[in-house]
Amino acid sequence: MSNNDNEQFDLNELEDRRGQGGLGDSTVQGTTEAADAIDGHLEHDPAEAVGRGEGVGEAIEVEGLSQGKIVLRRFVRHIGALFGLATIIIIALLSFLTMGIGGIDGLWHVQDPNSTPPVVNGGRPTLGLPTWLGGDGFQIGPYPFGQNTIGNDNFAQVMTGIQTSLIVMFVLGVVVLLIGTTIGSLSGYYRGKLDNVLMRFTDLVITLPVIVLGAVLGKMIYTLPTKWGWSDETKALIQRWMPVELALALGLILWPGLARLVRSEFLSLREREFVDSARVAGATNFRIITKHILPNTMGVIVVNITLLMSASVVLETALSFLGFGINYPSISLGGLISANQSAFDTRPWLFWWPGIFIILLALSVNFIGDGLRDAFDPRTKRVPSQRKLDRAAHRAHMDTRTTTATASGLGGN
């Protein structure tokens, strides 16, 4: 083995060790002895002559768990991430239940957010706070988030806007995932000329300014079909699918970050011995990439995609606010804010509600991404709180027998 390889390995090992509280390899305790005992190497009392084996301590925590379960367990410990996940599920449910999905109608009495029912109560929100919060008793009323001057239901509009944001987020995530992973893994695995070509292409894409591209695309979607003389139905269709088109376009220029990350992961993973081992076993390049290396980059990919999705919520909003992204008749949260910014003094609710949901969406996806990053990173080690330590110490003090029992249980003899 060349010196370089050795060093790389040692660095990895060191990191691992640090992550595991310095207790050596994470291994399962009981099985070590099973193997030791099987060997029949013991001349004396087997319990006496056999050590605890390599890697203890941390072993208990990971016993019999797959990588996925460990990640899940660490994710569940992240309170912020759980909150984020719950929030996003509630928001999604609320929006799809009220406004429907695809052609299916929802439960809300206003199904067309662009319809103009008569203005009730000067457009003020009919949502009433419960008395213990200083309101006049809890009620939803016909227009809980209020109406604008021409009577559009703000609630219906906000809920539709949320759907738009979710769709943009999802489509963008899928596009980036496909392109970024493919380009990253090909260039990281094959290196050489292919790597050069792909990476220079990536550099080129990075130079494209997102806002300008959004603006150009936004204009083109309205001007080009007319210029080419397409039928009105096609134009309407194109405009109806505006969010998806925007998401596709954004995805097509936002993948370089992921591609570079995946590439660097591949570059280090392809030098690992398990790849050589697979090659010796006769695996093809395709199999090595998909079966052996890609699963090992899952952590990086998932984390990156989630964080990108949360950024995309804000990005889409910003573009729509500037008038470049999603325009009438499609509704987006950014578009709502943009349309209602002049009403900030007179009808602030038109401004507040979309804003609150933008913040909620972006924050919760971000928290999920954060939780995933911690869960996938073995180095983030949870240190017990002082209170827990004290309690455990107290417990041990009160009942020493338990401790010794645990200890001998761990010793396994």
Binding site: T27, T31, A49, G51, G53, A283, K381, L410
Partner: protein, 606 residues
């Protein structure tokens, strides 16, 4: 080393004593140490870790005293708590660790000491030599700077004086051309030199206590012998007590005055070096001693036969070692004829030729050991034999199949005939695949086995490497190092190859685990009868397994011959040196070997 070589202004005005000149002021708590004074008094030390909601005992009930100038070895396999118990002395436990009990350094209680007082002790009073010098040294700073930094942190000292002292320290640890090395970065030095720098840094503040945590585990035998020699010399010159943490009984035999054997966090035996080696009482100690491969133990009878003609092939001048003559009728499992192997060029980095004109022949069913220091090209040969590296000159054939210029597609049938066991079982198994799937992969790809059939074969393979069948659904990180290496062997053997390459399969394992894996390996070799190229830097291991040994140095084979001849009557000067460097787990014999080695080295120099 003397007392007052270049006298600095500070030392002239202040006190100067000890083995280095010009030392700065020490804290009041530190009084002078003489040989024989008790410097460390550990009483009922325990280390616990917070794991999964409960305290887990990493070490309990450690009680010992350390005198100045004495070497105490703490021996045990990994996970026995030896490192953590020593690290607790300087408060370097991980955040979820906790130490209790008492450890007094010249009367100062160390357990529970934090902040500035602890920092004053670290480096100044207690220094640590870490296992891996490459990661323990900061790659961004020069070696000299790192020593100077330690000095200037602990003493009030100008840059010039500090540099003078650093150079002095580098001379003390016998670094050639210290003035040049002072400005070298860690990656520009060899492993041994790096470890010397680490030692120099550790010694820079004249610590009372030196903790050496597996100081030679990451090094080659020959380098290890040099570092051990250095540490032995330093013992004479330095008044520090040394705690040596290791799992290598050979190293212990070489250095230790007293030995503590630890198992499961408990001390099982504590005594002088002689007691432990000659009269071990605890079964675990006996087992540990029995597990160490003993160089020369397997060839003793054959060597008695004085009529035996030594027939090793030795490299002379620039001519490569000729091919061992073999039976014409037998198709060799591996045949290399003047084969040169290169690492292909990468970008601007030119191709690197790691093996030059190698002639090697392995007959079916034969085990040939390949030994040499790291960087000698052993692994290169192993990788070329499984077609992971191209042969640029000469010829390489496996079981009669010439693979010198084989294309990617031609290699598939070839893959069935070779298997390889990698050095590091942790890295050679895909962390995201259950081990059963890893074992079954070659079968899946070559014999197109699926479902039940595949699963039966995997279970049979698990049986043959003596692992429970239930383990097939485990992930590699859930297995111990020894178990992972068994999985590696099972996978390599799954297609019943004609040739197996074992690339240092046990070097990442503990001694006791290594013994089990080697035994298993021997049994499997007898059962399946594959030819094997066993690559190792450990001559004692190779001697145990192989019929012939090839010695490699700097990409050239230097000597090839029968195991007995190589171990008993090495012809090449390098082989002799390599053999002399192997430590033997017996203090008396080790002393003899040490003298022999010094004599060989003296010959070389003169």
């Amino acid at each position: 080393m003397t007392t007052e070589t270049p006298t600095s202004p500070e030392s002239a005005s202040g006190e100067h004593r000890g083995w280095l000149s010009g030392r700065g002021e020490k804290t009041a708590a530190n009084t002078e140490v003489r040989k024989g004074d008790v410097i460390l008094d550990v009483d009922d030390l325990a280390v616990n870790f917070w794991v999964g909601g409960d305290w887990f005992n990493a070490a309990t009930g450690l009680t010992y005293q350390l005198k100045a100038g004495e070497v105490l070895a703490i021996v045990g396999e990994s996970g026995s708590g030896k490192t953590q118990s020593a690290m607790s002395l300087i408060g370097l436990l991980p955040p979820n660790g906790r130490a209790s009990g008492s450890a007094k350094l010249k009367g100062t209680e160390l357990i529970g000491l934090t902040g500035a007082p602890m920092r004053r002790i670290r480096g100044n009073e207690i220094a640590v030599i870490f296992q891996e010098p490459m990661t323990a040294l900061n790659p961004l700073y020069t070696c000299g700077f790192q020593i100077v930094e330690t000095l200037r942190t602990h003493f009030i000292m100008g840059p010039k004086e500090a540099k003078a002292r650093a150079l002095e320290l580098m001379r003390l640890v016998e670094i050639p051309e210290p003035e040049v090395r002072f400005n070298s970065y860690p990656h520009q030095l060899s492993g041994g030199q790096r470890q010397r720098i680490m030692i120099a840094q550790a010694l820079s503040c004249e610590p009372k206590l030196l903790i050496a945590d597996e100081p030679t585990t990451a090094l080659d035998v020959t380098v290890q012998a040099e570092i051990l020699k250095l540490m032995r010399d330093l013992r004479e010159r330095v008044d520090a007590g040394i705690i040596l943490i290791t799992h290598d009984m050979g190293v212990v035999a070489d250095m230790a005055d007293r030995i503590i054997v630890m198992r499961n966090g408990q001390v099982v035996e504590h005594g002088t070096s002689n007691d432990i080696f000659n009269n071990p009482t605890h079964p675990y100690t006996k087992q540990l001693l029995a597990a160490v491969p003993h160089l020369g133990a397997h060839t003793s009878e054959a060597a008695e036969d004085s009529t035996r003609r030594v027939s090793t092939l030795v490299r002379e001048g620039d001519a490569p070692v000729p091919l061992t003559p073999g039976n014409e009728g037998v198709v060799p499992a591996l045949l290399m004829e003047e084969a040169s192997i290169e690492y292909p060029k990468q970008g601007r980095k030119p191709a690197f030729r790691a093996a030059h004109k190698v002639n090697l022949r392995i007959d079916p069913g034969e085990v040939v050991g390949l030994v040499g220091e790291s960087g000698s090209g052993k692994t290169t040969i192993g990788r070329a034999a499984v077609a992971l590296l191209p042969v640029v000159e000469g010829k390489l054939s496996v079981a009669g199949r010439d693979i010198t210029d084989a294309k990617h597609r031609d290699l598939l049938p070839f893959r069935k005939e070779v298997g390889i066991v990698f050095q590091d079982p942790g890295s050679s198994l895909n962390p995201r695949l259950p081990v059963g799937e890893s074992i079954g992969e070659p079968l899946y790809l070559h014999q197109k086995l699926r479902g039940k059939e595949l699963s039966n074969r995997v279970e049979a393979l698990l049986d043959s490497v003596q692992l429970p069948r239930s383990m097939r659904n485990r992930y590699p990180h859930e297995l111990s190092g020894g178990q992972r290496q068994r999985i590696g062997i099972a996978r390599a053997l799954s297609l019943q190859p004609k040739l197996l390459i074992a690339d240092e399969p046990t070097s990442a394992l503990d001694v006791s685990v290594q013994a089990q894996v080697l035994k298993l390996f021997q049994n499997l070799q007898e059962e399946y009868g594959f030819a094997c190229l066993f690559i190792s830097h450990d001559l004692a291991v190779v001697e145990m397994l192989s019929e012939r040994i090839a010695v490699m140095r700097n990409g050239h084979l230097v000597e090839v011959g029968d195991t007995v001849d190589i171990v008993r009557n090495p012809q090449h000067e390098y082989t002799q040196r390599l053999l002399a460097a192997v430590p033997v787990p017996d203090p008396d014999e080790q002393r003899k070997r040490r003298e022999l080695r010094d004599a060989i080295l003296a010959d070389v120099v003169s």
